[in-house]
Amino acid sequence: MATKVLMPKLSDTMEEGVILKWLRKEGEKVKQGEILVEIESDKADMELEAYDSGILRKIVVPEGGKAPIGGLIAVIGEAEEDVASLLTGGSTPSEGKGATKSTAAQTEVKSLPAAAVPQPTGGKTKASPLARRLAGDHQVDLSRVHGSGPRGRIIKRDLEVLLSGKSAQRVSSSALIVPGTAEDLDLSPIRKTIAKRMAESKATAPHFYVTIEIDMDPARTFREQINTVTELKLSFTDIIIKATAAALMKHPQVNGSFLGDKMRQHHYAHIGVAVAMEEGLVTPVLRNCEQKRFDQINAELSDLADRARSRKLKPEEYTGATFTISNLGMFGIDTFAAIVNPPEGAILATGTIVEKPVVKAGQIVIGHTMKATLSSDHRIIDGAVAARFLQDFKMILENPASLVL
């Protein structure tokens, strides 16, 4: 009896998936329980097992193609069976364009040397033979390179500038900015999800922002001590997560959700930590941070972050957060205001640790401070609530010894 293989829902926000790789060819035998196909959801790459045994009679959506949740992607049946009737069912698959590969890259505009020369319109790109060869060696698309030579000729130094910038990040070949032009890139599932959710959040949750400055010298000392005396290599994020968890226990109102007719307050802290990937943002969740030790948080965070970047997170690993922390300190940002991740009630944005003159015991000394900004959904959190949370957060972080209790 022939059966349809449909696009499964692999995340709570997934609306459509992209076929990454078929592990069986048409005509090959399939056994129930074997992995049949790899699918890209909006969050991660997932494997789908076959629910039936038989012959993979027809692949309806090929690699790179998309299908909505529930859409027909393949048919499994007996060898001689007529499966034509099954092929009409399910949503029509859409031909993708290798969505994984053609992504909107996080592009950086390179500052190019010499006078801007207008690109030659039409015809072959002008490039010196050497530049052409270098482009070939490095798989650079010459038509997207700015030529600084006479009459727009692309020359060696144009390639050199490009290639030295390239090594700073894993950039796909389309990541070459040409001044004065624009390019349209397909939206990956992740980008679509982020767009939808963030727009929703801002539109529905009335945001307000409270910032506090924290003396980080105690945390620095604490971290140094632990890293010297134990085998652990604590990061500041590890300490901030534990401090946040402790503060959240004291202020469950900040650890909640607006449910329309009710508001929920959690007595556990599943903290999502925002991780930047090439294609977008994902938030792996550390569960029950209020109960976890430093070493557990350290190990888990490491592991989750790695797997987040290589898109190997399971759905339960990026769902269920009660609160999110986002850090842009590694970019030198001192303050920013994040957008609340629905259905959460608040999100904490931390900046960089700045060395600056501070006043201690009436004297100006060199200190280290960090600013933290809490973005809150005013439907369930008021200004004073937010402020008190931050006060406690600051006190805990400035007294890290309290965290070992």
Binding site: R133, S148, I155, K156
Partner: protein
């Protein structure tokens, strides 16, 4: 190592080869009792006598052809042109007889002859006494063309040329005859067809030879390396034909940029030939088109400023180097 002048280096080469092989003799205008129009053959008549050092009448076609005939039956003449300008009178003998005899006779007769003398501009000699003619000789199959830029190269290359069994056009420069240089002690020769990297560098290759290399290019190299903060590689092919293309190509593969500096006129000059060969063999290594600095495409005038403007100069080399570096 000894320090000698260029004329001494050439004199030694002739003298040594005449001692080594009794078939070698020298003839030309004023080479014997006048001791050489530029004193290159000074002392040779006294040593070798009038049968081996011969003053000729002013008859270039006559004595060039006589040299060919003598070479065909086994002697090894060195024929001096007082300057290479006058060789044009003998062009028929050099091209139609010397160059072609081996081929035309189906291998019956070869012509081991060296035509030598100074070429190129001196100062204010006017159009017919200042010509750099290497390209019209290099153009002819059957001839070899040699042009040294140092005393060491001159002596070594001339000795090899005299021993070579083919007709050879050996072009010197009268303004350089007094310049001193180091030469190795004892017997040495330098092979034909082998160029030399006279200075290594990494940013641009300059190919040049003879007087222009000695007098203009080195000045330009010093100035430009300082001004532009670059490192220039200088190649002296030493033999114009057969040309050591491999050496030049190897250099261009490294620097990606080539400037050729020559005294001759641009149309169908030696630089045009090198440029073609390099673009053909090293196409994928060129970041800019090959640039040439040549004499202006005009007969050389007498007036000093005009003469200077017509010939290759440091300024012209600067412009060419900047152009290939895209720094103009």
């Amino acid at each position: 190592m000894a320090i000698v002048s260029l004329r001494e280096a050439i004199n030694q080469a002739i003298d040594e080869e005449m001692a080594r092989d009794e078939r070698v003799f020298l003839m030309g205008e004023e080479v014997a009792s006048y001791q050489g129009a530029y004193k290159v053959s000074q002392g040779l008549l006294q040593k070798w006598g009038p049968m081996r050092i011969l003053d000729t009448p002013i008859a270039e076609a006559g004595f060039a052809g006589l040299g060919v005939g003598a070479a065909m039956v086994g002697l090894r003449p060195i024929v001096e042109f007082m300057t290479w300008n006058f060789s044009l009178v003998a062009y028929d003998q050099i091209v139609n007889n010397a160059a072609k005899m081996l081929s035309m006779s189906g291998g019956n007769f070869h012509v081991p002859i060296v035509f030598r003398g100074p070429g190129g501009a001196a100062h204010g000699l006017g159009a017919t006494h200042s010509q750099a003619l290497e390209s019209i000789y290099a153009h002819i199959p059957g001839l070899k063309v040699v042009m040294p830029s140092t005393c060491k190269d001159a002596k070594g290359l001339l000795k090899t040329s005299i021993r070579d069994d083919n007709p050879i056009v050996f072009i010197e420069s009268e303004v350089m005859y007094g310049d001193k240089g180091e030469i190795p002690d004892g017997e040495y020769t330098i092979p034909l067809g082998v160029g030399e990297v006279k200075k290594t560098g990494s940013d641009v290759t300059i190919v040049s030879w003879s007087k222009i290399l000695a007098y203009v290019v080195w000045k330009a190299v010093d100035a430009l390396q300082e001004e532009l903060n670059i490192s220039i590689e200088v190649i002296d092919p030493r033999t114009i034909k057969p040309m050591d293309y491999d050496l030049i190509v190897e250099s261009v593969k490294k620097t990606n940029r080539l400037v050729i500096v020559e005294e001759g006129w641009p149309f169908a000059g030696v630089g045009a030939q090198i440029s073609h060969e390099v673009s053909s063999r090293a196409f994928d290594y060129l970041d800019a088109p090959v640039e040439r600095v040549t004499q202006e495409d005009v007969p050389l005038p007498y007036a000093h400023e005009l003469e200077v403007r017509s010939l290759p100069s440091v300024d012209k080399i600067r412009a060419a180097v900047k152009k290939v570096l895209y720094r103009d």
